[in-house]
C-alpha cells in the first residue's frame, strides 16, 4: 500500500509510488506474476509522441462546474483544453446539468523573458485577474515543463493568493517531464484536491457513495437506488462544495482504478471513507463480486443478492444468445491500463478469442495495495491468459506492427487515434468513450451488440484498406514488435 502524504505540495510519481512500468512484452499471466515480485521497466530506442500529465490533470479540474483553471506555462501547454470545454457542454445532459456554463480556461502565456526572470509575479497577478473576471469557487493552477525547469515557486504564489482571495487556490504539479506514466497527471490533480478542497467529515452519510470517474453516462443512480443511496460523481460535473464533502460519503467506488487509485486511497487513509476494493463491474463474474462488495460495505447483503439475481435472470439468456453469434471471432485490445483490463474481461465473457493487447502502462498494484483491485489478475483468473501482451506506452509503431501480423477480426480501442490503424489495415475497429457503457450485466449486452454491429458493417474499413497510406517501412513491419525495447534486437 502506498503512503498518501498530503503535507507535501507535489504528488509522488507512479514509477516511484507504485513501481509502474511502460514497457513489457510477454503474456498477461507473466505480467501478473511479475507484478507480485517486482517489475523492471524497459526503455525504448525509438519513441513517438506520447501525451503528458498536464492533459490528465486538466480534464479532472476543468469539468468541475464552478472552478477556473490556469495553465502556468506557454500557451501551447493548454492548447487541447478546448476539447474539455466541448466535452463539458456536450455531455452535460447525461449528468443533468441543465445550464452548462462556459469553461474558464486561462494561460499565463509565458514568454522568453519569463524563462529568464521567472514567471511567479505573472502567475500571482494572473490569479487575481482570473478571480476578478470569473469569481470562481476555486482556482486550479497547472504547472508545465517550462514553469518547472525555471523553478517558479508556484506553491507559495498559490498559498498567498488563497489567503488573500479566501477561496481555494490549488497548485497542481503535473510537469510533463516528471513522469513517464501520463496517468500521474490524474494523481496530481487529486493530490491537490485532497490537500486543499476536501475537508474532514462533519458526519458520515449512508445515502451517498463517491464514484471516481470521467464523464460517462449516469448508470450508478439506478444501481445505488436499490441500496437507498445516490452517487457523488468525482470530479467531472462535481462542484467545489460536493468535492469538499466527499469525505462524508459511505464509500468510494472506482469506475477505473487506473484513474481513481490515488483519490480512492486518499479518501480512505486521510478522511476515513472506505474504498470498495473489488475491481469495477466488467464481465459477469466481476459484476457479481462488485455488487456483493457494495452490499457488504453498506451492510445490505440481501439487497445485493436480490439485485444480482434479478439482473442475471433478465440478462444472462440474452448474453448467451449473443455469445453464440460471436463464436469463433478474434479480437485485439488497445487502451489505457484499467479500461484495457475491463475490455479483456468483456471479450472473455462474450467468448471472443483475444489474440493480444497493447495497454499503455501497468500498475503492479494500485494505491490501496489490494490484490482484489487488480483487474488484470481477475480477468486472467476468470477468462484465461492473453498472449502477445504488450505494455506499449501508446507507441503507435508497436501497435501497427502487431496488428499487421495478428490480423484479428476486431480491434477494440480506447483513446483517440488508435482505431485509425485498425481501419487502415481493414480490421473493423470500435472505440466507445463512455466507460460506463459496458459495465454490469446490461453493459455486456449493449457492448456485445456494438461489437456484432462493428464486425458486420465492415464495408468502410475494407474500402479504406485498399487506399490507405502507410508511412511505416516494410523493414519495420517485418521485425518483432519489441525490436526497439531494451533487450530487443535494435538499439
Amino acid at each position: 500500500m502506498s503512503h498518501i502524504n498530503l503535507q507535501i505540495p507535489d504528488v509522488s510519481i507512479r514509477e516511484i509510488r507504485l513501481n509502474s512500468i511502460t514497457g513489457f512484452q510477454g503474456s498477461a499471466t507473466e505480467l501478473v506474476k511479475g507484478s507480485r515480485c517486482g517489475l523492471k521497466d524497459k526503455n525504448r530506442f525509438f519513441s513517438q509522441c506520447l501525451g503528458c500529465s498536464v492533459t490528465q490533470a486538466a480534464c479532472m479540474v476543468i469539468l468541475v462546474q464552478d472552478a477556473a483553471v490556469i495553465s502556468h506555462g506557454p500557451v501551447g501547454c493548454s492548447s487541447c483544453f478546448h476539447e474539455f470545454a466541448f466535452t463539458y457542454r456536450v455531455n452535460s445532459p447525461l449528468r443533468r446539468v441543465e445550464q452548462p456554463t462556459q469553461r474558464k480556461i486561462f494561460s499565463t502565456n509565458l514568454q522568453e523573458t519569463d524563462t529568464v526572470f521567472g514567471g511567479s509575479q505573472k502567475l500571482a497577478a494572473g490569479i487575481r485577474e482570473v478571480y476578478e473576471r470569473t469569481h470562481p469557487n476555486a482556482i486550479f493552477v497547472l504547472t508545465t515543463c517550462a514553469a518547472g525547469i525555471i523553478g517558479d515557486d508556484v506553491e507559495s504564489v498559490c498559498n498567498e493568493a488563497e489567503e488573500e482571495l479566501q477561496i481555494p487556490v490549488v497548485a497542481i504539479f503535473c510537469e510533463g517531464f516528471r513522469s513517464k506514466v501520463w496517468t500521474t497527471g490524474f494523481d496530481a490533480s487529486y493530490h491537490g484536491i485532497a490537500r486543499k478542497l476536501i475537508k474532514p467529515a462533519r458526519a458520515r452519510r449512508t445515502d451517498v457513495i463517491n464514484v471516481i470517474n470521467f464523464w460517462g453516462s449516469d448508470i450508478f443512480s439506478e444501481w445505488f437506488a436499490a441500496f437507498g443511496a445516490k452517487p457523488n460523481y468525482i470530479t467531472p460535473y462535481s462542484t467545489v462544495e460536493s468535492l469538499t464533502w466527499s469525505s462524508e460519503a459511505a464509500a468510494t467506488v472506482q469506475a477505473c482504478p487506473t484513474l481513481g487509485s490515488y483519490l480512492g486511497a486518499a479518501l480512505e487513509q486521510e478522511f476515513g471513507v472506505p474504498e470498495i476494493k473489488a475491481a469495477p463491474p466488467y464481465g459477469v463474474a466481476q459484476t457479481d463480486r462488485w455488487f456483493r462488495a457494495l452490499g457488504e460495505i453498506l451492510h445490505q447483503e440481501k439487497q445485493a443478492e436480490e439485485l444480482i439475481a434479478a439482473k442475471k435472470a433478465d440478462y444472462l439468456p440474452k448474453i448467451a444468445a449473443l455469445r453464440e453469434k460471436l463464436k469463433g471471432k478474434t479480437a485485439y485490445v488497445t487502451a489505457g491500463a484499467g479500461h484495457g483490463h475491463a475490455l479483456l474481461s468483456i471479450l472473455g465473457e462474450l467468448g471472443l478469442e483475444v489474440k493480444g493487447a497493447a495497454l499503455f502502462h501497468h500498475d503492479p498494484l494500485y494505491d490501496n495495495g489490494s490484490e482484489e483491485s487488480d483487474m488484470l489478475a481477475q480477468s486472467v483468473k476468470d477468462y484465461g491468459d492473453v498472449p502477445n501482451f504488450n505494455i506499449c506506452n501508446k507507441q503507435e509503431f508497436e501497435l501497427v506492427n502487431t496488428l499487421h501480423r495478428l490480423r484479428p477480426d476486431l480491434l477494440l480501442a480506447r483513446h483517440g487515434g488508435m482505431t485509425l490503424w485498425g481501419s487502415k489495415l481493414g480490421i473493423p475497429s470500435l472505440l466507445i468513450g463512455d466507460e460506463h457503457f459496458s459495465m454490469g450485466y446490461e453493459g455486456l449486452l449493449s457492448y456485445g451488440e456494438r461489437i456484432l454491429e462493428t464486425i458486420e458493417n465492415d464495408e468502410f474499413v475494407k474500402n479504406l484498406e485498399k487506399h490507405a497510406v502507410n508511412p511505416y517501412t516494410k523493414w519495420w513491419l517485418s521485425q518483432e514488435p519489441d525490436t526497439f525495447l531494451d533487450g530487443g534486437a535494435c538499439k
Binding site: S47, S78, H82, E83, Q102, F106, S107, N109, E112
Partner: protein, 445 residues
C-alpha cells in the same frame, strides 16, 4: 502582448510542426516534452496527415534529459526514425525543455545532413513566439538547410511564369487546403505556374527544391509569412507582391488577380493578357449569376436574417470577410476582433486597410489575443437587428448567450468539420454565403 490570456485561438511555437505535416511525406521529429505533440494535435484536431499526431517521433523528455541533456536520446530517435518511417524530409523541432536545457540540436542535425540525410533543425520552444510567427521560422529553416542543397540544379528565377505562393497557414487556417488549391487554380487561370508548397496540391519536396526557380513570390497575409518573403528576396533575389488579407468574393479576388498580373508584367512574365482578362470575366459572371439569384432572398426573406456581424479571427480573415460581407452580402461589420497576437508594428497598416472598406462608416477594430476579454466586450454590445458571430468553437457559446447566429470558421473548432472547402476567391465567397445562411435557416424548425 504577453499577459494572461483566456481561450487561446492560436498555439505556441511548436505548433508549426503542422506546417511540416502539411508537406507531403515530411515528418516532424519532436525534441520536446512528451505532451507537446498531443497538445498540438488536440488544438487542431483531425490533423495527423502522413506522419503527424501519434506517428511523429519524439524524444519525450524525462527528468533524465532535463538534467543531463537530451542530445544522445535525439541521436537515437533520429537514427531509428530512418528505419521505422518512410519519409522524404525530417524536420526536428525543439520544445521548451530542450530550449531551456540548451541542447545543440543544430550541430547534431548537421551530422546527419553531412551523411546525405534530408534533415532540418529549427528551434521552436513554446515560450519563443506563437505558431503564426514560428511558421516562418520553420519554412526559412527548410529553405536554408534543405532547399539550398539543390541550388545547383535550380537556377535562380529561371522560370518567368513560376511563382511561390505564401498564404494560408496550414491547419491554423481551417480552410488552408481548399484555399491553397483555389489560389492555385485562379493564378493558373491567368497564366502563372504556382508552387503552393503545402497540401495535396503541392509537389512535395521536389516542389520545395524548385523554389529558387520562381520569378517572384506572392504573399497573401497581413503580417505573418512576411519573414519568408523577405528571406527569399534576400537569398534568391526574388521580389514579392503582398496582398494584405484573404480575398473573398468578386471585388477583392479581382483586385488580387489584377495586382498579381501587374506585378508579373513588370517582372517580365509571359502573360497572355487577353486570355487572363477572359478568365477573370468568366469567373466574375459565374459569381454574379449566383448573387443575382440570391438577391431576392437576401432582400425579401421575411422571417429574419442577420444584419450585422462581429468576427473573431486572424487579421487576414477579419479584414477580408468584413469587406466581403459589407459589399457583397449586405451584412454590416460592427466591432471586429483580431485575436492572432498581431505584433504592434503591423497594427497600424491593418487598421488602415480595414478603413478602406468604406468611406461612410467606421468599423471599430480591436486587437486582443485574450479572446475571453473580447467575448466580454461583445457581451456588453448591443446593435439593432439580428446579429451574426463568426469565430472559433469557443464563440458558439457566446452566440447562444446573445441569441446570435453563429458560423464556425476559426481554430480551434470542435463544432465543425472542414475538409477541402475554401473561402478565398469568387467561389469561396459563395461558400461563405452558403454557410452563413445554412446556419441561419437551420434555426427555423
Amino acid at each position: 502582448m504577453s499577459g494572461i490570456i483566456e481561450q487561446e485561438r492560436y498555439t505556441c511555437a511548436i505548433g508549426a510542426l503542422q506546417s511540416v505535416v502539411a508537406i507531403p511525406k515530411a515528418v516532424p521529429v519532436l525534441h520536446s516534452g512528451p505532451g507537446c505533440g498531443n497538445m498540438i494535435q488536440g488544438f487542431f484536431e483531425r490533423s495527423t496527415g502522413y506522419a503527424g499526431g501519434s506517428t511523429s517521433p519524439c524524444t519525450n523528455f524525462s527528468e533524465q534529459e532535463v538534467v543531463f541533456g537530451g542530445i544522445q536520446r535525439l541521436r537515437q530517435i533520429i537514427t531509428n526514425t530512418y528505419k521505422v518511417l518512410d519519409t522524404d524530409l525530417q524536420v526536428v523541432l525543439t520544445g521548451c525543455t530542450a530550449g531551456i536545457v540548451g541542447d545543440d540540436v543544430g550541430s547534431l542535425v548537421a551530422e546527419f545532413r553531412a551523411e546525405g540525410r534530408p534533415i532540418v533543425a529549427v528551434e521552436t520552444p513554446g515560450f519563443k513566439c506563437n505558431n503564426f510567427e514560428s511558421h516562418s521560422l520553420v519554412v526559412n529553416a527548410i529553405i536554408d538547410q534543405y532547399v539550398s542543397l539543390f541550388d545547383g540544379e535550380n537556377p535562380v528565377r529561371s522560370e518567368k511564369n513560376t511563382v511561390n505562393l505564401l498564404a494560408s497557414l496550414p491547419y491554423q487556417d481551417p480552410f488552408w487546403k481548399g484555399n491553397l488549391g483555389e489560389y492555385q487554380r485562379l493564378l493558373e487561370g491567368v497564366g502563372l505556374k504556382v508552387q503552393v508548397l503545402f497540401g495535396p496540391k503541392s509537389g512535395g519536396v521536389n516542389e520545395w527544391q524548385r523554389i529558387p526557380r520562381a520569378n517572384f513570390n506572392i504573399l497573401v497575409a497581413p503580417w505573418h509569412g512576411q519573414p519568408i518573403a523577405e528571406h527569399l528576396e534576400e537569398r534568391y533575389g526574388q521580389p514579392y507582391t503582398q496582398f494584405p488579407h484573404i480575398p473573398v468574393g468578386a471585388n477583392e479576388t479581382e483586385r488580387f488577380l489584377r495586382q498579381v498580373l501587374t506585378f508579373a508584367a513588370e517582372r517580365h512574365a509571359e502573360i497572355d493578357e487577353a486570355a487572363a482578362a477572359e478568365f477573370i470575366r468568366r469567373e466574375r459572371e459565374a459569381y454574379y449569376e449566383e448573387i443575382d439569384n440570391l438577391a431576392t432572398f437576401l432582400l425579401e426573406f421575411r422571417y429574419g436574417l442577420p444584419n450585422h456581424v462581429h468576427i473573431l479571427h486572424d487579421a487576414g480573415y477579419v479584414v477580408g470577410l468584413s469587406k466581403f460581407l459589407l459589399h457583397e452580402v449586405g451584412i454590416v461589420p460592427k466591432e471586429q476582433f483580431i485575436v492572432d497576437n498581431t505584433p504592434e508594428k503591423f497594427q497600424e497598416q491593418i487598421r488602415a486597410e480595414l478603413k478602406t472598406t468604406s468611406d461612410k462608416r467606421d468599423i471599430p477594430l480591436i486587437f486582443e489575443p485574450d479572446a475571453g476579454r473580447t467575448q466580454e466586450i461583445i457581451r456588453g454590445l448591443s446593435h439593432g437587428g439580428r446579429g451574426l458571430i463568426i469565430g472559433s468553437g469557443w464563440d458558439k457559446e457566446l452566440a447562444r448567450e446573445k441569441n446570435y447566429d453563429f458560423l464556425s470558421a476559426a481554430a480551434p473548432s470542435p463544432y465543425r468539420l472542414v475538409l477541402t472547402t475554401h473561402y478565398v476567391g469568387f467561389s469561396g465567397g459563395l461558400r461563405v454565403i452558403e454557410d452563413i445562411y445554412d446556419a441561419v435557416l437551420a434555426t427555423y424548425r
